[in-house]
């Protein structure tokens, strides 16, 4: 890819990132932070790519550590976010629940 193509993708992604969270309600600040945190665990894909062709033992060990850390970020991030949101649906304040249409609770 040319540098300009990458720059274009970067700028457009930044705008999308700003737009998608611009209307977040304050009760969801922590779960959103946690969910976004899980998403950057995708560095796992980069860690796998560089570890795949590591030939020296030092690089292989470094790669194993990077993959381990990235997996903790990615997997743990999504699981803990799900737990936060699970509590959410159970312990919602009455007034907030009243604003939601019937049947929006998870089954």
């Amino acid at each position: 890819m040319s540098g300009l193509t990458i720059l274009t993708i970067f700028v457009l992604a930044a705008f999308v990132g700003v737009e998608v969270v611009s209307k977040v309600s304050s009760t969801l600040h922590t779960p959103l932070m946690s969910g976004a945190n899980a998403i950057h665990g995708i560095i796992l894909v980069g860690a796998v790519m560089v570890t795949a062709h590591a030939t020296s033992p030092v690089l292989l060990v470094l790669g194993a550590i990077a993959i381990l850390l990235a997996t903790v970020n990615l997997v743990g991030g999504f699981v803990v976010t799900d737990r936060m949101l699970e509590m959410f649906s159970g312990k919602k304040p009455a007034q907030q629940r009243a604003q939601e249409p019937v049947g929006s609770e998870r089954p």
């Binding site: 990132g17 969270v21 950057h40 795949a52």
Partner: protein, 280 residues
């Protein structure tokens, strides 16, 4: 194993990127939040399976990769399942820190691979950014964990000359980043990582306990940008898009959290250094 044709790989990564966008969108509204998070996890699963099926692995490297993923999952899932509700923010801080650490290590491994090759300035430069910011996020996040957990005092810790030290660490980091950009040398990269760790510590120590969640959100955005820089350097659109999404949305979220608490990000980070109050 490299069994996927290249267009299929690219399309799978595109699908994962779309999942991440929809995940953030879903997480912004109470009704769709849980679905959004699951969609994000699905996107991540697609991306990980895709990279395993589209990469050539040297020797026994595939076994090392799968083993590390297995151990990482075995550590993370019970931790995330068992953590007490009140201790979730600290756990998120740790997850964020290790993600930053992973980005920094990936950057250093890339520099090691560059040895003896002609490397474009922009590739070495974005790698340098990933190393420094990833390391900043690693130690910064671990210290926020300590502050929330009570391992270290939650009151602002202001070292003598903290302001000067902070500026010095950033300046030295910039110098090392320029050196990495020009030479793509791995040892400059290691120095850069150490300076990143120092900068992270100096940035977080003066923050007061009540402001810590906002700083975790800021470091979350930092890690996102480090991942985006890795994607830039490696030519991976998925990492570039996912990291940029988190960097941008994390910045907006940090500002929103600060506003909701009636604080300014500037005051949170540098208030104690100026001798102002960071109480509260």
């Amino acid at each position: 194993m490299n069994v996927l044709p290249s267009p299929v790989t690219e399309l799978a990564y595109l699908a994962a990127a779309v999942c991440f966008i929809l995940a953030l969108k879903g997480l912004s509204s109470p009704r769709s939040a849980r679905r959004g998070n699951l969609l994000g996890a699905a996107g991540a699963a697609v991306a990980v399976v895709t990279v395993l099926l589209s990469t050539d692995f040297e020797g026994a490297n595939l076994a090392v990769v799968l083993g590390s993923v297995g151990v990482g999952s075995a550590v993370a899932v019970p931790a995330a399942r068992r953590v007490k509700m009140t201790e979730m923010p600290q756990l998120v801080a740790i997850f964020n820190g290790v993600g930053g650490g992973a980005a920094a290590i990936v950057g250093i491994m890339e520099l090691a691979e560059f040895a003896g090759h002609d490397v474009k300035l922009v590739v070495a430069g974005t790698t340098a950014f990933a190393v420094f910011v990833g390391a900043t996020s690693l130690l910064g996040s671990l210290l926020t964990f300590g502050k929330l957990q009570g391992t270290i005092t939650s009151r602002p810790i202001v070292l003598p000359g903290a302001g000067v030290l902070l500026v010095a660490a950033l300046g030295a980091g910039l110098g090392a980043a320029v050196a990495v950009t020009l030479t793509a040398d791995v040892w400059f990269g290691v120095v850069l990582a150490l300076l990143g760790l120092a900068f992270g510590a100096l940035l977080v120590l003066p923050v007061g306990g009540a402001d810590v969640p906002i700083v975790i959100s800021l470091l979350n955005a930092f890690t996102g940008l480090a991942v985006a820089a890795s994607g830039w350097a490696m030519g991976s659109t998925l990492l570039l898009v996912a990291g940029t999404l988190v960097g941008a949305s994390g910045t907006i979220l940090t500002l929103a959290m600060a506003t909701a608490m009636g604080r300014s990000v500037n005051g949170i980070l540098f208030g104690a250094l100026k001798g102002g109050s960071t109480a509260g």
